[in-house]
Symmetry: D2
Subunit: 168 residues, 4 copies
């Protein structure tokens, strides 16, 4: 049993950040690449492949992916299916949160749909790390058309396990 002040001081330090500001972190992640085996492991995603999703770019805490909406990826109203858009975003999220080489799984993802998307449209999803702690990472994602028009946006939490899928 711990007292109130200890808990307050410790805070959520089990999963807390590394003391860097968000801007410092974003600056870093944009300049650092990742080991080739990390990219290889993450690209080997059968569901993403089955939807024709490509991994365009990966840095530590960052991923960019692309997908063209196929005719069969629509819903009953004839627009791109929410599940297809989500799958593209979710893959970018998975790559970004696993980009450190440590196994990370999605805890929760919220997606906001902003525009209907027609079949044939090429979409770009970008995932950026907002915060990274020992157990938890937070990511902000956008899905845009090639024109830059935003069609969906996500805010997602990853849980970082103790395992590494590459040698540490």
């Amino acid at each position: 049993m711990v007292g109130r002040s200890e808990r307050a001081a410790e805070g959520v330090a089990e999963w807390a950040g590394d003391g860097k500001s968000n801007n410092e972190r974003v600056a870093e992640q944009m300049t650092e690449g990742v080991k080739p085996e990390i990219r290889r492991h993450l690209e080997n995603d059968p569901f993403a492949k089955s939807l024709g999703i490509e991994l365009v770019e990966i840095h530590e805490g960052y991923a960019k992916c692309a997908m063209t909406v196929r005719p069969e990826m629509v819903n009953a109203h004839g627009s791109a299916h929410g599940g297809a858009l989500f799958s593209l975003a979710d893959f970018a999220f998975a790559v970004a949160c696993n980009s450190h080489g440590r196994v990370a799984v999605a805890l929760e993802v919220k997606i906001n749909y902003l525009e209907a998307v027609l079949p044939g449209t090429r979409l770009i999803a970008e995932a950026k790390e907002e915060a990274l702690g020992g157990r938890i990472g937070l990511y902000h994602l956008t899905v845009t058309e090639e024109s830059g028009k935003i069609v969906a946006s996500c805010h997602a939490t990853a849980y970082r396990k103790k395992d590494w899928f590459v040698d540490k």
Copy 2:
């Protein structure tokens, strides 16, 4: 320009409910079916079909769907892909929020992942209407294994357009 008290009195009535309690509504929706053309329209979902998703049950404000996780529906860690689970849940959500015959589109969906799911597992998604207003509907969804074990849960908002996809 409206004054403060008018606005407060009116509240968010543009998209507000019908004065029924949630329990009254849930009781109703469980006993009412829907017109066959509504079911037919919603079942005709190309992306859901491509994933083998079945519409098991539909009532006003309610849907139950099923999907078996195929070997290609996994992620780089070998578990069922977050996008595949989401797509099943999203289809149940789409059916539930369109079950009234009026065109409804997803505004936002939050999914929480609770357990990893192995390929070959049969999953059931259930969507229940928590609240329904003129413009907005709120839904709670669960994805469970056949044993009843919950593997994911969603909380989702639909935006109801003015159009009806069946004759009113």
Copy 3:
């Protein structure tokens, strides 16, 4: 480094559930009370007290709280402030996720606002555990008026620390 199949089998077991179905759990939690020192500790919440929030009922994985919207708890449009409604719901969430005696902190909460609420209204928040694992708990909350009309709904994740705030 672990292989794909091990990871899939283990899944997210670090924070996974106890194998009980959700219905079994809900049935249990409704009949079990909690130790008096757990209730005492959780009731001693200075911010909740400052807003006049009362803890009405607590069981394992469940809490019911109440608050009357005071004249100063409104926003610029004259309705009950989103922050005030959230604070009521968040307190119910905190009580429910800490009801086991183990320190739990909020990871994320989504709130959906369904109706504007007038000052003077008495509100009830109920938090129910949807799923509980070693590290993670998931909760569904509603805020209703005394008539039963739902005015807000939340879906919230707790992170369970290793510490207990009562003797285990």
Copy 4:
């Protein structure tokens, strides 16, 4: 009743954007101020005032607010209460989404808590418009300590009513 292709073409245009890219919009909003009566109206928020929240900066689609965590704003564990942090963020959100002079109400807000915050800490909340349509606006918010350390992050949807609270 509308056909599939019409609906797809129209998409969610009832609440869709204005065709500007997100970057164009962000660039604009940072340079435009707002009418003094808009600021005056939004600052007159009784609940925010009762918590000592200040409106530091407002532009179209943007707000910055500040609050110092008072001793009574803590939870049972002695850290800043989730409801207090949320209330700060929610006020920044309300200001940003109402900054156009048109009445906007919160539809949903997700908050992620990243670090425990001690009483006495001065916090800054910033709200930025990610997308704006006829009926819907999407906002991304951060709550940081003065050091720049991020302690919470929100992703929030506003519903824009037909009324204006200033002369259009």
